[in-house]
Symmetry: C2
Amino acid sequence: MSSENSYLVPGTSVQIPGAAEGPLRDLTFMAKDLFDVAGHVTGAGNPDWARAHKPAGSHAWAVERLLQAGADLTGKTITDEISLGFFGQNAFYGTPLNPKMPDRVPGGSSSGSASAVAQGRCDVALGTDTGGSVRIPASFCGLYGLRPTHGRVPVQGLVPQAPTSDTIGWFARDAATMERVGAVMFAESPAAATHTEVILATDLFEACDPANAQALRSALDRLATRTGNIRQERLAPEGLAVWAQAQRNIQLAEAWETFRGWVDAENPRLAFMVARALQFGASVTEADLEAARRVREQVRARMAALLPRNVLLCLPTAPCVAPFKDEPVAEVDTVRDRINTMCCFGGLAGHPQLSIPLAEVDGGPVGLSIVGARGTDMSLVATAKAWEDHQ
Amino acid sequence: MSSENSYLVPGTSVQIPGAAEGPLRDLTFMAKDLFDVAGHVTGAGNPDWARAHKPAGSHAWAVERLLQAGADLTGKTITDEISLGFFGQNAFYGTPLNPKMPDRVPGGSSSGSASAVAQGRCDVALGTDTGGSVRIPASFCGLYGLRPTHGRVPVQGLVPQAPTSDTIGWFARDAATMERVGAVMFAESPAAATHTEVILATDLFEACDPANAQALRSALDRLATRTGNIRQERLAPEGLAVWAQAQRNIQLAEAWETFRGWVDAENPRLAFMVARALQFGASVTEADLEAARRVREQVRARMAALLPRNVLLCLPTAPCVAPFKDEPVAEVDTVRDRINTMCCFGGLAGHPQLSIPLAEVDGGPVGLSIVGARGTDMSLVATAKAWEDHQ
């Protein structure tokens, strides 16, 4: 086990200067250890994965994009094993520091990226979000974190998990930096905040800790001149549990398909919870999977109707502040289920979702998520910038 | 990962002289890393188990017994993780050498004990046998290996797995040494071979590789003056698959009960197959467990009737010679199921079973098991001695 609190993959040292000219030439960035960096083994948070793979021949698309825009790559960051985990506790490489709450977890699976940005060790860090792996550490560490519209950022050079939910996102400490990176990643000029209506997802607010819900609603009240009247809607008339189960079945069944070849060849060492998640994926029946896909189609149709380009949806990013480190598995399971209930929306709908560090509870950060129509990622960032200026 | 082929637990060095006087004072022995040795952490084949436990305060009963009889303890040997495994491939500590077939596995879970004895590094080694963990490495490494009558050797100071099947056994290269150790462990004088009838378990012979069955039957033919006429019987009219499933359900459900507290507290790193076995144990329903216990009661009643003290039962110890190392999980699963089919008899019946290195196939050793009435352990060893003299 490596030294506690490290956010860098043990034994790695990466310093790759970006292009001399480019819009991000003043920025440094790090990349989660799921992204290929030429000449380095992509370790995916597990020593048996690293041992079974050769150094990458070229950079992942997202890494190359930021380098060409002038940003300097300064590190490979710890991920939860094979990106399965919400807590950021890697049994082999340790738990990166959450500088906002040092006795709590940083959140995962993009734990090292969030930790590095929150500690000011780089300006931006790349993560991935399949079931919440950017959004959750953004909320727990008090950062901006974007899960882009599914399919907008190419996944070339990425260790996949569940392809129909996988996205590439990033963290920054301020909305302006989020926007600058977005302009490069999406090849799109900064947008204006386009919403004329705001919806609050009441069922998701009800599913989070009352103190968190209260803190986020107070923050929204303070933004009243920016939000106008807020309409209240239940997103899941069938119940959030149905959504959560659908996402879990789809995601873990796909994760098993992704990793089963490696598991079969290597019988790798994995933390118990990670192995159990893979085994759960292996046990999902075709009938369960078809039912889950039908739920997903319903969610997508409903969200497309609910969220035209002029509507902004608000929901809590996480159900709670960052949990304490080293809790028993049973407690982690309980919180994991609550997080999945809050985050499953992202994978099911595929809409862009930006977590904004808008409030505090118990001295710890709490993120509000804003969600828009597919493709309105830059508009979400513009909204965050406007709110940031207003605070 | 430690150096390949080591049979000793990495980082351990144990040298404890036995009593100056005693019947075993010319023997050296080693103990599987499930047995407490005072002043040392009992590691159970997993670094996260070792980290979570303090050094033992006193020796396990079986270790103390051999020391008091004069044998010198000269090492702690590698076990499969938490004694779950038939192959002897520990993902953390490596695969002990099978000196009879160096490109094959030694068998497990008492892998290091079998390897050390087969290499001549000690005279005797303690192992445990819950589902086959002494019998299988005895067959694969060409050793004598005894699974005693269930309950005869006290398990005090042992990391348990599945208490209603756990037994403490040992390996030696010759029957005379087996007998000397048995006399100490059972506090019983050497017995005579008491059988007047020999039964051959046809369904178990049919379940093993034809070459193995043929080699063992030829060896029995050569012993005809010792065995007399051999009666053929099917042990499992309901089918061996029913037995195998019953043993697997009972054993892994109990293993989950044994290890769940540790798993919950530590979320330990485990090889995928080990974690999956625990998760299987967690998923066994009460109804499945009750059905399995009914099967076990039937097996016990039938074996008590079939095996009075004058009857000896012969069956193949393993379904095959030692498999190649580093086979894919799917292949290991297939062989594991075949081994469990052959070995489940031991856990279900609780009778003593001695594996004798009686034949060879493809240049590798093949064990024949002899089984007698409960409590006739020393008589089995006497039979083996007589056969050894006859060969």
